[in-house]
């Protein structure tokens, strides 16, 4: 029997009021402002933008405040916000070769055109808690040096010059898949896979990338290059007919260089995995590039033997808003479903008991 359940409105209202109170915390501690989050917890903001799939630092900072620092909740808020806005169109492809470099490193070449710059990084820190930060010390002015002018070519372009690495082809005539407009279908092309990975959960992709390193679909990766900095976003409005600069977008790009592929016509070459993420997130960009390469298994005629190579598995589970929605729905009332299960288990137990009774009688 279906039983409609109502009630709890007052409890829900009061729970939300209590949430707002707890969010604010003790009244004698100054309230945090979204611009403090935006500028002082900027890597959390970057993660919310990347996985919320919406570039808007101020909005992401506000979402983090609203979510009390629960980043997946903040990502959920950002995803919901984007559904309220019309889409004007799509940008010109971001040209990462024209990035204003703030960090650029390579694990494959020591000396490369444009050089290696560390930028603001946790690398080489000792990971010791810095109690000076609790005391509120003003950091010293950063050092300065004369910038080197000149191009900063992608490392893959250097290898490409000798055809030692597979070339990418723009294929600009082809439509670009958009999983926010049409449901994912398998097999999915690389454009859709990269879109899904770019907005995918950092932890999930990190674990999958790690699994490939541990032998579950090994690809022998090297970090050809990681770069972080700002790229001008450009959009061509119909009424203007030329590329309008929208403003700079901060991006992290990872070029993963992997072991070889070749065939009868094509001598062996390095293969590529690619990561591109909003904001500064090397861990995410690196994980994305490892998983991108793993998901190209079929393309290279290799066998799918590991989870990271299984595109249906990866793409169906990498979205943390979808995942949290389905996992967390379990806590919502399932009273009727559970009544049915209760009835079923009672019936099964009665049948079990009856069968044992029959056996006992037969034995006597």
């Amino acid at each position: 029997m279906y039983v409609a359940v109502k009630g709890g409105e007052a409890a829900i209202d009061n729970a939300h009021a209590l949430l707002a109170h707890e969010r604010r915390g003790p009244a004698d501690v100054p309230e945090i402002a979204p611009d403090q989050i935006e500028h002082q917890l900027s890597l959390a903001v970057d993660r919310v933008m990347a996985e919320g799939s919406l570039y808007d630092p101020a909005l992401a900072a506000l979402a983090i405040k609203q979510a009390r620092g629960d980043l997946i909740e903040a990502i959920f808020l950002v995803r919901a916000f984007r559904t309220t806005l019309p889409r004007f169109g799509h940008s010109e492809p971001l040209d990462t070769a024209r990035m204003a470099i703030e960090r650029r490193i390579s694990a494959t070449y020591k000396d490369l055109p444009g050089g290696q710059v560390l930028g603001p990084t946790f690398d080489y820190t000792h990971r010791l808690i810095d109690f000076m930060l609790a005391a509120g010390v003003t950091p010293p002015e950063p050092a300065e040096a004369e910038p080197e002018c000149g191009a900063v070519p992608r490392v893959t372009d250097l290898l490409d010059g000798e055809q030692l690495i597979e070339a990418e082809t723009p294929r600009d005539g082809e439509p670009v898949g958009d999983l926010t407009r049409a449901p994912l279908d398998f097999p999915a092309d690389r454009d859709l896979r990269l879109q899904a990975l770019a907005r995918g959960d950092e932890g999930f992709l990190l674990a999958l990338g790690y699994s490939t390193q541990r032998g579950y679909g090994r690809t022998h990766p090297f970090v050809g290059e990681i770069r972080f900095g700002e790229v001008m976003a450009e959009f061509v409005p119909e009424e203007l007919g030329f590329a309008v600069p929208l403003g700079p977008v901060a991006l992290t790009e990872c070029q993963m260089v992997n072991q070889f592929h070749g065939n009868a016509e094509q001598p062996p070459q390095f293969t590529r995995g690619y990561g591109l993420v909003f904001g500064q997130s090397e861990r995410k960009a690196m994980s994305m590039s490892l998983v991108d390469r793993a998901l190209r298994t079929r393309e290279f005629g290799e066998d799918v033997v590991a989870p990271a190579q299984d595109e249906e598995f990866v793409l169906s589970h990498c979205d943390n808003v979808q995942a949290t929605g389905f996992v967390e729905h379990l806590k919502l009332p399932h009273y009727v479903d559970f009544q049915a299960e209760l009835g079923l288990v009672r019936q099964m137990r009665a049948e079990h008991e009856a069968a044992r009774e029959t056996l006992r009688e037969a034995a006597e």
């Binding site: 019309p86 004007f88 799509h90 492809p93 670009v176 409005p237 929208l246 403003g247």
Partner: protein, 163 residues
């Protein structure tokens, strides 16, 4: 390119005047990076200028930002960005447009007016009014570049032997 047809009949395609397009793009890039207060002050400093009416009231929406596989390969949808746009017509018929990252509709409207003014006799005055802003942005970029440059790695090759 836009996904759908333009939603306003009044907005006519403009014959983009080729060599001045680059200059206009530079102006737009400057204004996209500016604060509302800076653009408002620049407009106020121009004094008497043709009045502007909205062709399309400032509105916020989304632009899907695209990347390319490997940086130079096949395009893919990276994720959206909030973008605010405005379109104005000046009293003498000139039109001005603005498209900026973010959700600041006041800023987009002022930028659209300045874009319209820049395309006529007010261009030198607009350029002059934005000179301070340009200097600020250039100085900020220079400082950032100098700080990044100080983190450049100089490798030393360790040589064994040779006393």
């Amino acid at each position: 390119m836009t996904d759908g047809p333009a939603n306003d009949e009044q907005i006519q395609p403009q014959a983009s005047a080729d060599r001045s397009v680059a200059a206009r793009q530079a102006l737009m890039a400057t204004m996209a990076a500016a604060l509302y207060e800076e653009l408002g002050a620049a407009l106020a400093s121009l004094g008497d200028v043709p009045a502007a009416t909205d062709i399309r009231p400032a509105e916020s929406g989304l632009v899907m930002l695209r990347g390319r596989a490997g940086g130079d390969g096949r395009a893919f949808n990276l994720g959206e960005a909030t973008v605010t746009r405005a379109a104005v017509r000046l009293a003498d018929g000139r039109t001005g447009f603005a498209y900026h990252l973010g959700r600041d509709s006041r800023k987009a409207r002022v930028a659209a007016i300045l874009d319209g003014l820049w395309q006529g006799p007010e261009r030198p005055r607009v350029e002059k009014a934005l000179a301070g802003l340009r200097e600020r942005l250039a100085a900020a970029a220079e400082t950032k570049a100098r700080r990044v440059a100080a983190t450049r790695v100089d490798f030393f090759t360790m040589v064994r032997g040779e006393d």
